[in-house]
């Protein structure tokens, strides 16, 4: 072979090998793919690769359109029943909305007549509390035809057939209910279902049919989404109302707790759900992680015990549960036999951040409450990661989580009443005519139960979220003067003086006079001129106003309730309401100053007449005082600013029991307003400047001079506290004065000079 040829041969071989090595994979593409040709040509134009491809829709929607147009016949609609009957209930398929168009009312079946054997109908204490909460609420109706939702008189809380509270023959009892209708529009409360050994969550022992289940420990597969409601498991001593507040007293940063993670509880050794708790001892280190279990429960625990039991029991006895709760940053909430456990609410109340170890559990009210802000998830499958997880959480996050546990506890979980009402509000938000609250409202204070969405559709009109939105309340105020006595109206009458003073205020938008006195209305020309400020006089006597409907506007025995001064009148268009008694004496500077203070605290009552409550040990009751004290907890609405929303809340939210008390005594409405606002804000009202006397003493006939009046107020306070379930009032030690108030500087430098002249 010639050298030349050889070299060529070697070169060609090498070239071929090189080509095969570096570029050979190109040969692998299957040949003859029609799209390729296009792509290559398109690629030259610098087009993005995806632009060479067809859309996923293709000509699909055009075809569908043709189908719809050509086929507008019945065939399309009849063949396609668009909501086919499916096994699971949804509101659209299992709920009769027509019953709920006007109002959301709940009917409770009367207790069953005694059976043939004469045994009393069994009802557990907790179920009785649920029924009481509903009966004394605004949801309740005794008229089944007006009801939207039906609650059973049969106790369905405990459906564990081994339990003593288990009610037998439920199916036949249900069949006897006059409005049962396969459960449509019924709600069934349940805490436990299923029994040993499998604890099946869907075995209620009867067919709930189309009834909504408000049930604890539900799993994600069992809950009919958008239909059932997951509620928390609560124990037998759970309070009906108010109950204990969250136990977090201090808000330290960082929260220096003795333990990082804690748990103390039973374990089951064998059977369903036992693995998780059985393996907790791996996490226990006795220092910052305390996870102790015991097998010592039930009669035959000795027979079932395993070889760890004795050791576990020893560790278990070393720790006190309450102490652990209070001194731990995180609390483990592992599943027991069922998915939910008491630990959840206990941890929440203690401000111990729950670490959930219960796979597939649907947390209470999960559709509305964003638990990410208050709890930590762990996975049963990754149990050993739990220590790393809790250690990795930064202090800021812990700080926020801890606060949120308290917000949620106080707003939704503190009592049976709150749990039941929250359940109702969740269902109510599904109704077509009821506005939906945003997730922000649900998850921040004061929460959904106190935010009535029917008041306004935007949070801007409410006092609570303004600050976080960076918004301010709308400008100016409406002065509302409540005339109870009427008095002799000379040209210098206190009432006219008051109107003149208000007229001079630079922030007043409108004056509203509510005439509740027996005397006839003064003639229009008698009122002082108010120039550009509209003056409306509304007569409340005798004839009731239809507007602002609500039970408070109704009268019994022709007597109007004093609560009428807080009706949400349409004339009040400003966010700020200045509530005044007819004989209030204030100067214009005082009004303007109080208004500017209110703008910074729109969720509170800001005003002049301060009063205080105190606990009277000798009488074992709440006392009320108008004496000068170093603190106050009430600012009377005889001269105070508050947000318009509270009128709405007072009229439409307060328990009818409270409003009845006010109506019967024709007194205490101002105290009730203070309780309401403090209940909502958990903050004291704000008193401004030194003025203490704010009544024109000359009027003489004022009921304030009556000693009975005062005693009545004391008893009101106690009634209110009982109905609220606790005393919402909070004390304050400070008042707000103008910046240069009483400072030894020239009066000319001061903005509110008239205030300087007012003594106490």
């Amino acid at each position: 072979m010639q050298a030349k040829k050889r070299y060529i041969l070697v070169f060609v071989s090498c070239a071929f090998l090189a080509y095969a090595y570096f570029g050979g994979y190109r040969l692998k593409v299957s040949p003859l793919r029609p799209r390729r040709a296009q792509h290559e040509s398109a690629k030259d134009g610098g087009v993005q690769p995806h632009e060479q491809l067809p859309s996923f829709l293709g000509s699909h929607d055009q075809q569908e359109l043709k189908l719809l147009q050509s086929n507008q016949s019945k065939s399309l609609e009849s063949s396609k029943q668009l909501v086919p009957r499916k096994p699971d209930c949804r509101m659209e398929t299992c709920f009769d909305f027509t019953r709920c168009y006007d109002r959301f009312l709940v009917y409770i079946y009367p207790p069953e007549p005694l059976n043939s054997l004469g045994a009393a109908p069994p009802t557990s204490a907790n179920y009785q509390k649920i029924l009481t909460a509903i009966q004394e609420s605004r949801y309740y109706t005794s008229d089944p035809t007006a009801a939207c939702l039906f609650v059973l008189g049969i106790d369905t809380l405990d459906r564990d057939s081994l339990s003593e509270d288990y009610v037998r023959n439920v199916p036949s009892r249900l069949a006897r209910l006059p409005y049962w209708n396969n459960g449509r529009n019924h709600i069934i409360f349940n805490l436990y279902s299923g029994t040993w050994p499998d604890y099946a969550e869907n075995s209620l022992g009867f067919d709930a049919g189309e009834a909504i289940l408000a049930k604890a420990s539900m799993g994600v597969l069992q809950l009919r989404h958008g239909f059932d409601v997951s509620i928390p498991l609560f124990h037998k001593q759970f309070p009906l109302r108010a109950g204990a507040t969250g136990s977090v007293q201090s808000n330290n940063f960082p929260a220096n707790k003795k333990y990082l993670l804690a748990f103390k509880g039973k374990r089951y050794v064998h059977g369903i759900g036992s693995e998780t708790r059985n393996s907790l001892f791996h996490l226990h280190n006795g220092r910052d992680m305390v996870l102790v279990t015991t097998c010592r429960h039930g009669k035959s625990w000795r027979e079932l015990q395993d070889n760890r039991c004795d050791e576990d029991n020893r560790e278990y006895d070393r720790y006190d549960y309450e102490t652990l709760l209070q001194n731990s940053t995180f609390c483990l909430v592992p599943r027991g036999r069922r998915l939910g456990s008491f630990r959840f609410l206990e941890a929440l109340q203690a401000g111990c951040i729950p670490v959930l170890l219960s796979n597939a559990w649907v947390l209470p009210f999960e559709s509305k409450i964003d638990w990410k802000q208050a709890a930590i998830w762990a996975d049963e499958r990754l149990l050993l990661q739990v220590p790393d997880i809790v250690r990795s959480i930064p202090a800021e996050r812990i700080f926020a989580l801890r606060q949120q546990t308290q917000v949620l506890w106080e707003r939704y979980f503190g009592s049976i009443e709150k749990i039941v009402f929250t359940t109702f509000e969740i269902i109510r938000e599904r109704l077509p005519d009821y506005p939906v609250r945003s997730s922000l409202v649900w998850n921040s204070s004061p929460g959904a139960l106190l935010t009535l969405p029917t008041f306004a559709d935007s949070s801007r009109y409410m006092p609570f979220l303004l600050n976080s939105m960076g918004a301010e309340p709308r400008h100016n105020y409406t002065a509302v003067i409540y005339v109870q006595i009427g008095g002799a109206l000379g040209p210098n009458a206190a009432l006219y003086k008051l109107v003149r003073t208000i007229t001079k205020s630079q922030f007043v938008e409108r004056i509203l006079v509510l005439w509740a006195a027996d005397r006839p209305l003064p003639l229009k020309k008698r009122w002082p001129p108010t120039s550009h400020i509209p003056l409306h006089v509304i007569s409340l006597g005798g004839s009731t106003r239809s507007q602002g409907a609500g039970p408070t506007s109704q009268t019994t025995e022709g007597r109007p309730s004093i609560s009428q001064r807080f009706l949400p009148y349409e004339e009040i268009q400003t966010d700020a309401v200045l509530s005044l008694d007819e004989d209030a004496i204030l100067n214009t500077d005082e009004l303007d100053f109080a208004y500017t203070v209110w703008r910074d605290f729109p969720e509170r009552i800001v005003g002049y007449p301060a009063r205080a409550h105190f606990w009277d040990d000798s009488k074992n009751a709440w006392g009320y005082t108008s004496k000068w004290t170093n603190y106050y907890s009430i600012v009377l609405t005889g001269a105070a600013f508050y947000h318009r929303y509270y009128n709405y809340l007072y009229t439409n939210w307060l328990s009818l029991l409270l409003l009845k008390t006010v109506q019967q005594s024709s007194n205490c409405e101002d105290i009730l307003m203070n309780l309401l606002v403090s209940h909502v804000t958990r903050k004291p009202p704000i008193k401004v400047t030194q003025r203490k006397g704010y009544k024109d003493r000359e009027t003489g006939r004022s009921p304030w001079n009556d000693p009975d009046h005062f005693i009545q107020r004391q008893s009101c306070l106690n009634t209110f506290a009982a109905v609220f379930g606790y005393m919402p009032l909070i004390r304050s030690n400070l008042r707000m004065d103008p910046m240069l108030y009483r400072d030894p500087v020239s009066n000319l430098r001061k903005k509110y000079r008239q205030i300087e002249l007012v003594g106490s």
Binding site: G24, K28, L57, S250, F253, D457, G470
Partner: protein, 717 residues
């Protein structure tokens, strides 16, 4: 191939002329040997080309690289359509269908299968063809932080099989193709994107492909087919959306626009009836005769046609009606025009419903109540409409604006389930983050701080030992004081020995700093065990016990505010167009100086670790304005004003008029004005709020027996 033939013929040719000399023979042997090697290689190559991709040596090499989405080299894979497939497991939950052990890494990782074309062994039909949208989805994942090229470390697997539109592929073959994937394992941890599920006549709301345990990112779920906590609802993408921008200043003349073409006839009839009664407020449009989908024509046929989807910006609200399918591309089209969607599809699972609060950005109406849609919309206040429009606009730009965003949002939803610790809260998902004024107060617990705890006084000092000792003595008798912490900032000499300090009944600690920095005053020292911190200068000796005690009392009622004694105001100067710092005694204040003020320890933490911009460094460098910086920080986070307590205005000596007026040369004031200017630029707004009130004891200046009165010793100036 032809090349090899040439080579072979060349070889045979050369053989005939040989047999000359031994040296050449050796060379020939070498050449032949080389040729044999080449031939072997060629043979190997040919064999490799026909084999499956994974064991080929070319691929073995390419696997370690990231995937290249190359449309020109899609490899063909034969699929056996008869192979066993398992139907979608309707009982899947996150807890039992997802293999969590694959996701134990510190973040979510997604593996993408290489682009492949699946062909039926028998019929030679291809399973699916790649669409532009699916390509973009793959590309988005590929370029995202989630992508991994290593299937062994992946938590999720994304097949490159395009299943977006069920009507364009063979469902059975697609199922077979999925089952043939290398890591399929009954579909565990696989994500399937699908936008148009179901077909005539049943129109199922979920993809009719046998997906077994795979997670479906579906565009048309109803609440029955959606597996909560497992599947993810995504929007149906609209190809018409590309490069459409809404007009910011759109004249929204109509209350409601209906431009969806495929609304079911019975609902369309209802809408026609509604439009008769509301012709001014409802714009009802249908298809044009040309069936051009980028146009809409009024039903009356007389008016001119309108360009779609741009025409949607004519309405405040736009209807998404019930069609054969739940999900419709109209939703993103509506949102792209910042029109508020009115959703009249019962039980439709809205896109990203787990995390997006649709109540802020849409109206839902039941199908059966469609006739009352106008009444419902008319009842909505104009403020709410503006809020919702903003929300729609923001949601669209944040989560829906293109396929990449949609894909990444969907993955984040899944990520937040797998790594719940890192999940954003509902507030973070839904609050418009472009609004500088909207804030979140980290001290949101609505309760008064406990009285029992007391406060820690933090004294920043340099070398004024005499006045420091005086101050310590004065502080020690304040009942609510819990302990004192002295921050010794002098680097040149060490603090006096503890024994030389005045002996007091409360704990006293001294901390020598490492650098003379002003920010040392706000460091959240572990020695501070109380919520409240009183920061106080070492020369503020005039505050009385009652004043301090009362100051703490006020702070307890406003624990998220700065509560203190020396106050200042900022004013805007129209002449210089700048902020001006003012220390005169005025009727208003906007700052409380930290020379004597209470604040929550959390703010010290924020000051040290979360101060925006270079404020902290700047303050340390210039040794000034740390108090202004603190006021800005708190005001910006809470939107709250500070609270001035009692009339006290002189702090160092009775003769001094003002702390700053005394020392104050003009330069000092100018510097502080510059600080305000600088900080407000860094924050992008002026967060300080001006107030006209101060806090006094309830019985301040009242004629009342001293015995019954608390806080008697409140100075007048």
């Amino acid at each position: 191939m032809t090349k090899i033939k040439n080579l072979l013929s060349f070889v045979t040719q050369s053989r005939g002329i040989s047999h000359t000399n031994p040296r050449e023979q050796i060379l020939n042997c070498l050449t032949y040997g080389l040729l044999v090697i080449v031939a072997l290689c060629a043979g190997f190559l040919l064999w490799d080309l026909s084999s499956s991709p994974r064991d080929g040596f070319f691929h073995g090499k390419r696997d370690s690289h990231t995937l290249i989405l190359d449309l020109e080299h899609i490899q063909e894979v034969a699929v056996n359509a008869e192979a066993e497939q398992r139907a979608r497991n309707v009982n899947c939950t996150f807890w039992d269908c997802l293999n969590i052990y694959k996701c134990e890494h510190d973040r979510l990782k997604v593996y993408i299968y290489p682009l492949q074309e699946f062909v039926d062994e028998q019929s030679d039909k291809t399973a699916t063809t790649l669409s532009s949208e699916y390509f973009q989805i793959l590309e988005a994942v590929l370029k995202s932080r989630y992508y991994t090229s290593n299937p062994n470390e992946a938590c999720l697997f994304l097949p490159s099989l395009d299943l977006l539109n069920q009507n364009v592929f063979d469902k059975h073959l697609a199922g077979a193709a999925l089952a043939s994937l290398d890591f399929w394992d009954r579909g565990a941890n696989h994500i399937i994107f699908n936008m148009l599920p179901g077909g005539a006549p049943s129109y199922n709301t979920v993809l009719d492909v046998n997906t077994d345990n795979a997670i479906i990112f579906g565009g048309g779920f109803d609440s029955w087919s959606y597996r909560p906590g497992f599947d993810v609802a995504i929007p149906v993408w609209s190809p018409r959306l590309v490069r459409q921008h809404a007009h910011a200043t759109a004249q929204r003349k109509f209350l409601l626009v209906v431009a969806q073409l495929n609304i079911l006839p019975r609902f369309l009839r209802t809408l026609k009836e509604v439009s008769l009664a509301n012709s001014e407020q409802l714009l009802l449009l249908g298809a044009c005769e040309s069936l051009d989908l980028t146009m809409r024509c009024p039903l009356s046929q007389h008016h001119k046609s309108l360009e779609y989807p741009r025409l949607l910006s004519r309405g405040k609200f736009c209807l998404l009606g019930r069609s054969l399918r739940m999900g419709q591309p109209d939703l993103v089209e509506i949102m792209s025009q910042h029109c508020i969607p009115v959703i009249a599809v019962d039980n439709y699972v809205l896109p990203f419903e787990d995390v997006i609060d649709w109540s802020l950005a849409s109206i839902r109406i039941r199908e059966n109540e469609l006739h009352s849609v106008m009444q419902k919309l008319k009842a909505i206040s104009s403020v709410k409409i503006v809020e919702m429009q903003k929300q729609v606009q923001w949601l669209f730009s944040k989560y829906f604006k293109d396929l990449k965003t949609v894909t990444l949002t969907a993955l984040e939803v899944l990520e937040s389930r797998i790594f719940p610790l890192r999940a954003r809260s509902s507030r973070q998902w839904n609050t418009i983050d472009t609004n500088a004024r909207s804030t979140f107060n980290p001290l949101f617990l609505p309760s008064l701080a406990p009285k029992s705890q007391g406060f820690t006084a933090v004294i920043l000092t340099y070398d004024r030992v005499e006045s420091l000792f005086l101050l310590i003595q004065k502080l020690a008798v304040v009942p609510s004081l819990q302990s004192i912490l002295v921050i010794w900032n002098n680097q040149k000499k060490s603090p006096p020995h503890l024994s030389t300090f005045p002996s007091i009944s409360k704990p006293l600690k001294i901390r020598q700093t490492k650098e003379n920095k002003l920010s040392n005053r706000f460091y959240p020292y572990p020695e501070i065990e109380t919520e409240a911190i009183l920061t106080i200068d070492d020369d503020i000796i005039m505050l009385t016990t009652d004043e301090l005690d009362f100051g703490y009392e006020v702070w307890r009622e406003f624990p998220d505010h700065i509560v203190g004694f020396p106050s200042r105001i900022h004013v805007w100067e129209n002449v210089t167009m700048r902020w001006h710092y003012e220390s005169e005694w005025t009727n208003q204040i906007s700052m409380v100086l930290t020379g004597a003020a209470f604040h929550h320890k959390y703010w010290s933490h924020m000051y040290t670790h979360a101060m925006p911009g270079d404020i902290k460094e700047w303050v340390d460098e210039h040794m000034n304005c740390e108090d202004i910086a603190m006021n800005f920080l708190v005001a910006n986070i809470t939107n709250n004003p500070p609270i001035k307590v009692t009339p006290r205005k002189k702090f160092k000596c009775p003769e001094c008029t003002n702390t700053e007026m005394l020392s104050a040369d003009l330069n000092h004031m100018r510097e502080r004005s510059a600080c305000i200017d600088r900080f407000s630029k860094i924050y992008g707004r002026m967060p300080l709020r001006t107030v006209e009130f101060r806090a006094d004891p309830v019985l301040f200046r009242d004629n009342f027996p001293d015995k019954l009165k608390r806080y008697n010793d409140i100075g007048s100036l």
